[in-house]
Symmetry: C2
Subunit: 420 residues, 2 copies
């Protein structure tokens, strides 16, 4: 894409009421726009990143047998009354609204109820199990405070998968599979080293759930981590009892701030009992379906990446989710020599299928470099009167700052090999 | 995809309260699920179709220079008060909700206000124009009645593009370009022949807007069409005055029922004046930006396709939006001969990149054929003991019912050539 085409521009300052580092950088670089506290629009560069995060998650969900759907935001009160969660004191983040005839509706904060009701149409026999259904959908949560940028929104995209299994063994196998899929997602997004599978509070049907917590001072959670064993426990359940039940001692555990980037939860038969989601087992008996729920917020992940992988100049995207793989920065001379050269180079690279953002604006070199640092595309090629004279391209790594002179063929070879 | 993997099943009956043909067929075939009147979830087959409709629209929007964003559903009251449209008597389809501190919020019915406010950050000079910004976003409209299935929802996906131009000439050129892009979209989706560019009521800044109306008895609109000239006029403005201003006579116009599948609208400076969205022109003077808005509902289009392209047996998808291109129906014998053969064929075809739904279920032939007719994949290959014996594949066209015997190589060649 030509940068002159892009409608967004970088800004020196973020809105004054914005306190989070991720939103400040993303707003300044033109990736998102703040509508209200906790409510952000995604602009072209931001949407490209978000879609790539979604793409990585979708691949991994499909790999473990997920089937994609899109449920609705408008929610039937009756469905939620079935589990007693319509009450604002039980679920305290409801946004509610009304039809013209005063019928109350909720805006989906999560979709266990709706999907369990739906699956009654499709699950009748053990032959219909297991099923794994997921969606990327906008959730609405009426948070009292929303100060963490896109890490905690009132309106945000969420991937939620729900599993429907015939017995505990089959459920446990899938639960473990999902845990591994989640670990692959965080590794692919460059957060693997700092993300811990964390014991957290369970529910009626499981002693613990598992959270994926990424260590960062921008997080709102606290976890205890043992770096040697890689075991982590959410502060909420970091008790002598928990340690004992896990066969661990307090020694070695250090408290850290973190953000919950994913969670997986065994639901047992809580929802299937409430809705009567039963099936006829192979022995002819009627049994309730065993369920699990598995969440990841792509926007929160994007915010977490920005918090962790940025420096004083701006963002440094991992290649896999970068809005473009290469930033071609042309420093124009007074004649059109550099422009003609850079236009042709841009065309060749895009024709080869490379995702290139081409800074073809008339701005001065300093401004272009500052903007490129802020936007954070991982690799950069600089073209100027000087590089053309030397018959080279100047190649720069955004993360290390390292600069090398290479040929166009070398550039193609290098970019083809890059994976991070 | 293996049909045994798909969690949905076909049904004999649609819900009793469903009156529209499109929703009845789509529910029976397992494409959508009714949550509430006018509120439908998209299941795996339905989501595949919807995403393909979106893909066609996205391509055409990118071709005319659109840049994709995603704005938010939660809307700031203040922004809407700027144009006087917060009032329920002015905009009568609001869903409204509240933050915990009682701050009122609206759920986006359309996004002129929000985007105009946003663009103030990015448009300052004639150098920043023109800009074309679009999104695919869920709209919420509190319709009193919602009886047309996915053709009129209370929650539905919408592509809305907004244009920002420096002068009337530049606006008019883009308006015309969009008109052509819209015509290409409807042609690609198989609705070209029945879809008319229709004069409809304008606003303060233009005498007429243009609607794209597809003739169908399932539509809620009425238009007058002259088949010879291909001119159409919405009944709302079919007056002597309109005919005179267009230099037409009443003769030849016939009233027809239709559905509005798209609309394009010149907004003039209504929104830019309200928000102070001005720019410095090349002559140094300050001018308001000229705007336009351009809508298409992918779900409504999908519903319209079902209304028009179905028969008594079920849906007949145009190839471009079919959930799969080919339906492989295997009629299993008592040994595993047919299964082994069909499994291998399915694997070869999918490895060649063909989108195949493989009916590998144990159901009887009659049930499989009835399901295939209902689901409506345009081309079908039947594999049985008999076809294996004859060393052929039975190839069936869903639309014409025509059946031919062909080889696997012939199948590959035919499918590669098919465009509709």
């Amino acid at each position: 894409m030509r940068q002159s085409f892009l409608f967004t521009k970088t800004r020196k300052e973020a809105p004054k009421d914005e306190v989070s580092q991720n939103a400040k950088l993303l707003i300044r670089a033109g990736f998102i726009h703040k509508e209200l506290a906790g409510v952000y629009s995604y602009l072209p560069l931001g949407l490209r990143v978000l879609e790539k995060v979604v793409g990585v998650i979708r691949e991994e969900m499909n790999t473990i047998g997920g089937q994609e759907v899109t449920l609705t935001a408008l929610q039937d009160k009756k469905v939620w009354e079935t589990t007693g969660r319509w009450d604002d004191t039980v679920l305290d983040v409801w946004f509610k609204t009304k039809l013209k005839n005063d019928t109350e509706l909720g805006l989906g904060t999560t979709h266990e109820e709706q999907l369990t009701a739906l699956m009654k149409d499709y699950i009748a026999s053990y032959r219909d199990l297991p099923r794994y259904v997921y969606q990327f959908q906008t959730k609405f949560r009426n948070e009292t405070r929303a100060k963490s940028g896109i890490m905690r929104g009132r309106e945000f995209l969420m991937k939620d998968l729900y599993s429907f299994s015939a017995d505990q063994k089959s459920h446990d196998d899938f639960y473990e599979k999902t845990k591994q899929a989640y670990s692959r997602i965080f590794a692919r997004l460059g957060l693997g080293d700092r993300t811990y599978v964390t014991f957290a509070s369970g529910g009626s049907f499981s002693k613990y759930s598992h959270e994926f917590q990424t260590v960062t001072d921008a997080g709102e959670d606290s976890i205890f981590v043992d770096e040697n064993s890689k075991v982590a426990i959410n502060k909420e359940v970091f008790t002598d009892e928990t340690l004992k039940s896990l066969g661990l001692s307090k020694e070695g555990f250090v408290e850290k701030k973190s953000v919950e980037v994913g969670n997986i939860f065994s639901l047992g038969t809580r929802f299937s009992d409430a809705f009567g989601l039963n099936f006829i087992a192979s022995d002819g008996t009627k049994k309730p379906v065993i369920m699990g729920s598995y969440g990841i917020g792509p926007g929160r992940l994007m915010g977490t990446i920005v918090e962790l992988l940025s420096d004083e100049k701006g963002i440094i995207w991992p290649l896999v989710v970068a809005p473009f793989k290469l930033h071609l920065v042309a420093l124009f001379d007074k004649e059109d020599k550099v422009r003609v050269y850079a236009d042709a180079l841009y065309q060749r690279l895009t024709e080869q299928g490379m995702e290139v953002l081409y800074d073809d604006r008339d701005q001065r070199a300093g401004e272009k470099f500052a903007d490129a640092d802020l936007i954070g595309i991982p690799y950069r090629v600089i073209v100027s009167d000087k590089t053309i004279g030397e018959n080279v391209l100047e190649f720069k790594n955004r993360k290390t700052g390292e600069t090398t002179k290479i040929s166009e063929t070398e550039l193609q070879k290098m970019m083809a090999k890059k994976t991070e």
